[in-house]
């Protein structure tokens, strides 16, 4: 690929605890993720998948190595940016296993809030939210409260929220775990669509074998180490 990677990790290490209780969650991780690709992260429970996603999302601070996001060196044995929340707001969209929509905002407001936090006016944010809900096929549910949404609808609203600020990277931790295979397929198709049309890099942690064939690359983690990437699935 000729393009620059959006996410680039070199020798990233992360451990929790010290001495006898020390857990090496990530060891010497090297990874490049390119724009427009959908990457899968798999591995047994406790292998470090969530930790890796959190490191890329600038939520968990690694202990060693270096990390570039969108060409900018953000970690080099320490955070190089003081404003990690601002970085997340602009560059990274998050999708969670349980949708994590704010229960006191309705569907479009949940999407708009991300845009408002980034400095948009309410009108701008609303227009953007409605456009995204339309794009993801849930505009008919724009006024529903999260409690009234089905799992699949909620997850699509959550994707819309992740996309609100046109991030370079979307990180999803088991986004289909709570969905049946048909809805899981729809959600994965949407992420693929986002990746291809918006050149966003999508990294998805999953246990779900049903969707393994939907990634450009699948990386397997074992005891905090990245195994050689499997070739493009099917």
């Amino acid at each position: 690929m000729s393009e620059e990677p959006v996410v680039s990790l070199k020798a990233i290490g992360k451990h929790f605890g010290e001495g006898a209780t020390r857990v090496d969650a990530l060891r010497d991780i090297a990874l490049d993720v390119f724009p427009g690709t959908v990457i899968g992260l798999r591995g047994p429970s406790g292998s470090g998948k969530s930790t890796l996603l959190n490191v890329i999302g600038c939520i968990t601070e690694p202990n060693s190595g270096s990390m570039w996001l969108n060409g900018e060196l953000v970690y080099d044995d320490k955070w190089l940016r003081s404003d990690l929340r601002g970085l997340r707001l602009e560059k990274i969209g998050f999708i969670f296993q349980s949708h994590n929509l704010l229960p006191f905002l309705n569907a479009w407001e949940n999407v708009a809030i991300a845009r408002i936090l980034a400095g948009a006016t309410k009108a701008q944010a609303r227009a953007r939210a409605l456009e995204l809900l339309d794009y993801l096929g849930v505009s008919h549910r724009k006024d529903a409260m999260p409690g009234q949404l089905s799992g699949g609808e909620a997850q699509r609203i959550a994707i819309a929220r992740a996309m609100a600020n046109d991030p370079r990277i979307i990180l999803a931790d088991e986004p289909t775990a709570a969905l049946d295979s048909q809805r899981a397929g729809i959600v994965m198709d949407l992420m693929r669509k986002v990746a291809e049309e918006r050149r966003t890099a999508v990294i998805v942690v999953t246990h779900d074998e049903k969707i393994f064939n939907r990634f450009d690359h699948i990386f397997a983690l074992r005891d905090g180490m990245l195994e050689a990437p499997a070739a493009k699935a099917a």
Binding site: R85, F94, L102, F104, A112
Partner: protein
Amino acid sequence: MNLALKDIRHNLGRFLLTCLGLSLLLGIVLAMIGIYRGLILESLGLARAANAHVWVVEGGTRGPFAEASRLPGDTREAIAAQWGVAAAGAVAYQNVEAQHRGAIKRMLVVGAEIGRPGEAPQIVAGRPILRSRYEAIADRRAGLALGEQVKLGRDTFTVVGHTENLVASGGDPVVYITLRDAQKLQFDLTPAATRREAARTQAAGTAAAGGSTDTVNAVLVRLLPGVDAEAFAAGIVRWKQLGALTQSQQEAVLSRSVIERARQQIGMFTSLLMIVSTVIIGLIVYTMTIDKKKSIATLKLIGAPDRRIVGLIVQQALAMGVIGFAAGAVLINLTHGYFPRRLVLEPTDAMVLSGIVLVVCLLASGLGVRAALKIDPASALAG
């Protein structure tokens, strides 16, 4: 988009219930302050009603309210003859329990001279006392109708006029009669033994001229324009057997004796209620924050700055305080007529209290803010 408001709307029932509880607390605080203001007004009311510049009392006392003061009846003439005096009137005060319509009523009977300082002020109904015997002017609180008869001591008085909001510092309504009637009443009410003793000493010729029944409690002096009250009072004090207080000294004495204690008690209850309010607001804001833990973690993860999250919590605390206070104020304004004591609601008091409530809200939200700031954004991912 105001997150605080949206969240309140989402949990409206609980929020309003909390506000209601808070409004009752703050309403009580307002009522206490109102009662305190009422006490001040009532206790000063009698002294102010006298409309005097100087109070001449028994030497060495600060009477007639804070200490007992007895003066010979002829003191008035001596004072009236002083340079600078426009008018002087003798007054007598007597606490009386009277039988009225089958119930015992406590009242403060004021004896004053017709047309002289100390007379009943501002008659709101009926007429002033015109005849020197057996007429009375009662405060509305005494529950005596115009034309009604009331027995005080051995004599029966007819109520000819009404005053309003004139009560003694203990809350007893004030009834005015003439000084002569009051002196008779005082004599009638003195225990028989003391009376015989007095009669004997009088007969023995050792009592002061005029006899022991001709005593008054104070002489009220109104000065000519331009005469300095303090200088006049200082001149009076030089007559060893007399004391003198200017009107402002008299009010200060009253404030000190009556009001200080009330201020302490009411101040203590008010502070306790404010502490209770702080704890309630604090706990509610804290639980509201903990209930939103996941939402706050999600907001932080998406990239919301801390000030946005602190704002969410502080705004909710302030909203609670503002609504609670406003509802409390409305409540007290609607119900203040039903309180047993006079409630004086001063806008400045309400303003000061609302300021304190806002500070209390800020303090109370501290607990919630602390909890919110400690929430780890990564916890949004778990589960």
